[in-house]
Symmetry: C2
Subunit: 117 residues, 2 copies
């Protein structure tokens, strides 16, 4: 694989954004969710950011957005068929991330131990 053809950045581009992984996690776990339900699942996100990140994921075909023309409005979000192809990517990243957390924890512990001498 030569540098020009490295597509890691493409995958990275989809996932970066402070809230995207957690949004995807909720949609994968909980299935279809309304805007307000997602907001309730993530109390710390602002409406602006939730909207923006959802739009970006939609733009990349990862999620579907269904608008029910009614009052009050109702909009449902879900992982698209295509978006499901992200599952293994997220899985392996989560797996490695978990291991890495442990690795760095041990590192700090051993550093503290030697500092304590």
């Amino acid at each position: 694989m030569n540098p020009e053809r490295c597509k890691v950045d493409e995958a990275l581009g989809i996932l970066v954004g402070k809230w995207k992984p957690i949004i995807l996690l909720h949609l994968f776990n909980e299935g279809t969710q309304r805007f307000s339900e997602l907001k309730r699942l993530m109390p710390d996100i602002t409406q602006k950011m939730l909207t923006k990140q959802l739009r970006e994921l939609e733009e990349e075909d990862i999620i579907d957005r269904v608008i029910y023309p009614q009052i009050p409005p109702k909009v449902e979000y879900s992982i698209s068929e295509y978006g499901k192809s992200l599952q293994p990517v997220l899985d392996i990243m989560h797996e490695w991330g978990t291991a890495h957390t442990n690795h760095m924890q041990k590192k700090r512990n051993s550093q503290n131990a030697s500092n304590a001498l």
Copy 2:
């Protein structure tokens, strides 16, 4: 998996940074490299950025940094034993990224086709 335990962000944190994936790619492909060799492989990166990203990767134990105390200085970088565990993560991200590039390309093509009607 509950949101509190989602560690995708941990993995993401290692890889984000405009140059990290490409730096890792070179170290995985070319093996041990000096600072100046990496700079030559990535003409567009500034010394400041190269230094910074290498330091961050070192901080996370992903790469080893070996200093040869001589004049002129010589510093070699390489993927650490632990860092090799990132390989499958990068592989699957590259694979998905490649597929995604094709997916979006086709999407744009079909959009252009319908616009041309």
